[in-house]
Symmetry: D2
Subunit: 353 residues, 4 copies
Amino acid sequence: MGDKMIKVGVLGATGMVGQRFIQLLDKHPDFEIAALTASSKSAGKRYEDATTWYLDDSMPESVKNIIVSDTKPDDVSNDVEFLFSSLPTETAAIVEPKFAESYYVASNASAMRAEKDVPLVIPEVNPEFLDLIDIQQKNRGWDGFIVTNPNCSTIALTLTLKPIYDNFKINKIYVSTMQAVSGAGYNGVPSMAIVDNLVPYIGDEEEKIESETLHLLGTLNGIDVKEANFKLSASCHRVGIVDGHTEAVFIEFDETIDVDEIKNKMSSFKSIPQELNLYSAPKNPVIVKEEDNRPQPRMDRNANNGMSVTVGRVRKDPIFENNIKYVLVGHNTIRGAAGASILNAELISKKIL
Amino acid sequence: MGDKMIKVGVLGATGMVGQRFIQLLDKHPDFEIAALTASSKSAGKRYEDATTWYLDDSMPESVKNIIVSDTKPDDVSNDVEFLFSSLPTETAAIVEPKFAESYYVASNASAMRAEKDVPLVIPEVNPEFLDLIDIQQKNRGWDGFIVTNPNCSTIALTLTLKPIYDNFKINKIYVSTMQAVSGAGYNGVPSMAIVDNLVPYIGDEEEKIESETLHLLGTLNGIDVKEANFKLSASCHRVGIVDGHTEAVFIEFDETIDVDEIKNKMSSFKSIPQELNLYSAPKNPVIVKEEDNRPQPRMDRNANNGMSVTVGRVRKDPIFENNIKYVLVGHNTIRGAAGASILNAELISKKIL
Amino acid sequence: MGDKMIKVGVLGATGMVGQRFIQLLDKHPDFEIAALTASSKSAGKRYEDATTWYLDDSMPESVKNIIVSDTKPDDVSNDVEFLFSSLPTETAAIVEPKFAESYYVASNASAMRAEKDVPLVIPEVNPEFLDLIDIQQKNRGWDGFIVTNPNCSTIALTLTLKPIYDNFKINKIYVSTMQAVSGAGYNGVPSMAIVDNLVPYIGDEEEKIESETLHLLGTLNGIDVKEANFKLSASCHRVGIVDGHTEAVFIEFDETIDVDEIKNKMSSFKSIPQELNLYSAPKNPVIVKEEDNRPQPRMDRNANNGMSVTVGRVRKDPIFENNIKYVLVGHNTIRGAAGASILNAELISKKIL
Amino acid sequence: MGDKMIKVGVLGATGMVGQRFIQLLDKHPDFEIAALTASSKSAGKRYEDATTWYLDDSMPESVKNIIVSDTKPDDVSNDVEFLFSSLPTETAAIVEPKFAESYYVASNASAMRAEKDVPLVIPEVNPEFLDLIDIQQKNRGWDGFIVTNPNCSTIALTLTLKPIYDNFKINKIYVSTMQAVSGAGYNGVPSMAIVDNLVPYIGDEEEKIESETLHLLGTLNGIDVKEANFKLSASCHRVGIVDGHTEAVFIEFDETIDVDEIKNKMSSFKSIPQELNLYSAPKNPVIVKEEDNRPQPRMDRNANNGMSVTVGRVRKDPIFENNIKYVLVGHNTIRGAAGASILNAELISKKIL
């Protein structure tokens, strides 16, 4: 690709993840926001007029005057290449395939993740799954394509597991999450439910973590993915924190593991996005802290602009000889959502287009 | 014992657990507060003048004018029988044995829990461990004795495990906690550490849960305890909740278990305190909720005056055939501290004295 | 009235204030819940099945099997006397007058407060306004009637002003509130809006405080109310607290005032409900604290079962010679809503019926 | 001054405001951190080893290896020019004058604010008070000097009052604050005091606001300050928010005021720091929001890197004809502390040295 800016759009641009897309794209050196879509009741309005801005930083000046269009392929200009999707699942299921006929869709929605020819990708973990794009285009006769990123909790967990899985024989994993309220959308969690309280249930979350993790660490053979050969069970809980998911991880190995080696593998982990020096790629996808009271969501969620996962308390389990335990924090709406889709698009731009 | 009120005292009466003792003892039908001790700088003052009251209900009128005494056996009246201890560990290690020469000490401190002849007891779980009192008195030549209750997280967990352990073959347990700030004492957790944040570390907590649980579910042979024959690993985290510890529990069994049977065993669980109709004994030590978003600490911590543990999401693990998962909430300063010591004293009064 | 229980109902029984009504009525010695209404989609269901229970204490057993009826006069049994209304404003405007044709309606809704012949009453402040009931019944040809209580912030404020207003010449008042999230209903305030944040706006709240306070402290002449002859300006803010509104009050008097006299008048304040010994009447409507860091919502909201208002920091203004300042806390869904309506009904039962 | 970097130091560098100084100075184009002092127990250690870092962004690399020195003039290198002080009051009272014998001290401590020859300055409000430096140096025979900035709440309030005071005749002000926990230092507010709660008292805060505001808006005659000729009364409250103080302001004028004019004066307000284009000076010291639910601390505290104050709900008081009301949010540890001292130093460097 030359050094011309790539025109991009955001599908579902007024919601919370849509706003993260805009925030992250605003100063992007290669991408330029040229389209913002929302539901028909916002269409035709200036973005500033159509949107209640939820993020701590102000709405970027560059998008205030963009006229929001309806979320329909015909309403989006042809010179847009990538569309970042933060559509609700049901809408995404219907609309994303229509866009994919002519646009490249990098989606944070879960609707299409289960389609065999739609790559579910974390650039540092399974970039080779992007080979499915060819198959997808042939299968479906599309000029565009859809690529998806996993669930927010899965992304953070899998980034920390990748350097372990590549080097040691994992047997079982148990993970217990403490997830931020932003993960449910702006109106998702009433304050009455979370002040001086927590909610020990997040719909479909455990299932996503349990399946997506094994898929991402699996191997692609043609169109088929052979899942990673360990098993994982999750328990998911919502806590009164704005941003940043925390996960307590217990791993059983087949044999005794040296904890320092694990830490070295995690902190030295680099992959294709780091080699290609992609704009949104953090220098270290995984940061290992030695302080015993870290990671903490407010302190660590913004590491490397929210694109690194921070790990701490990596320790040998004193009870189970072949086990280790650790805790991780990842930014759920950056590394776990908008940033994930953007990094996918950056990788595709550099490697495939 | 006749129906005369038993005179009791609280060691460390000005702290948060000390205040819970007072709150729970205030209307007690069998116990009457006759002594309150604190550090020497409070000694000689009226309790009301010596104390910043931290609990939501007001300080009971009955204690306001009690003159606080120094935490020394000679400063406490001889007609006091039971002393409830919420002393800091280091103080407890020195002072409790001195008191035990002539008083009955029911302690929430951890200092003496590891002594082989000091019973560590949850009345519903291992009341027979109180047989150690005889041995303790002989060993040490004491007229009094010390009985202890476990750590707050351990109590809630073990109450839910007891009906399972008695009926099914547990292999392994993983538990991840989300603990309230009151567990660290009034000044234990700065607000800067917990607003929009959590802290994934609580000193010594994991070790206590991992060892005490197996001890409590073990069997007493003379002075020796044979620990329960499964293993347990914990990860402990502090969250911004006033009262009520939440724990996510993963249990591996040796064979496939019927979840409804587990729920039945838990919800129908009754033990000695229920049979003896002890004043502080909850009708059901374990309450099982069917709503998928329960238990929640603010909603469930006060069940049966804070003496029941509430369990929810008891479910077959979809990944591991022989596993179940559930979540529990228990009130950490009532069932997990002051109420635990008081229930111990009630059992001793009824059974032993 | 004899000692037969009075049958009562709750209009809008599944919402948060509806639940408070049920909680407060459950053990009531004179009132017995005989009807619960909700929207038509809940009608016909058992109350337990129709309701997500939001309060910390469990749903009372006594109401679980009551069949919810539609909020229509014909659907409520004739032997019900009092109906407590926690209906949304728009519904209340239409439905309450229909019920009032044959039932006594004690309403927490604001819909009818502005009607000249509908008494707006705090029993300790302006019980004589109940004389309007006669006028109302004649005016409208109703067998029943509607009596209303003010807005939650107004009630707490006015209870503290009454003993001042009766004894000293108030010139101006400024009040700045910090209000709990429960005041907006269960889904009213998203957690994203309030974690590590506050919202400096509550729709219509300032207007209600500014007008209702003067009305309540006014004098009734026939059907006309002559408002109290001072003025009051409010600024209202939402903070991340579950229950309990806090208000900072600045009062300008015409002359210099002795602060101790003010405190005495407030703490010794008693009125008709105390004289009549009404069941829900707190012994002291206003509690004065001397500690400089009180009142606090979590510590003081439940004073006298949530029916007292707690005042602290009553101090001479060091800047304005004729001013005092203080801070108050009142329970917004008990004294400020459900408890207010119930106390109105108790007064009516005792004095009028 | 040439374009050489000015060497600066931070007195009390390990505390929370000390850390803010470091964070703000790290990328500063004119200042270069050359000395960090702390108590003697930290002296001699690397800064990274001496410090528990509290801020959300990581500790800057540039300071990690600086050896902390004791807070004594002899222990700080002579080529340091400015010293930023975040010392505790009692220490500051003793130590700052010693440093001022040879260093320029820009202090956030309150110890010296009351000295008649020590300027208390907000660069946008009363830059001319820096003339006191000459008098101070002569009076005391110092080569260096001390300049101070006001209390955090005062700074935010006074910045919004300056454009009003300069254009309209203010009669009285009432202000009610909702202040973040960071204002009390890392350990200042226990989580038990603030979760689901607030504390209606902050020691000495009301007095500081009431006096400093009038001083800052006053006029300097030689060494004497003639205070602004209105009066102000404050009520201060602590809420569970990490950073960002919110203040509700009621202003009485001598005559009716046009609200739009007030808003224009505030939003167009610029002063010396803007004219001189000082590095830390925000383009607009005061930002006026039109949305009725703003300003909010989490959303607005970081406006212009935390150096602007955001105002909203500027409205005519519907009750008092000559009054306006508004709400403001300012970042208490940036604009209200470290950033204030740095802006003072920038102004001095440009204007005086």
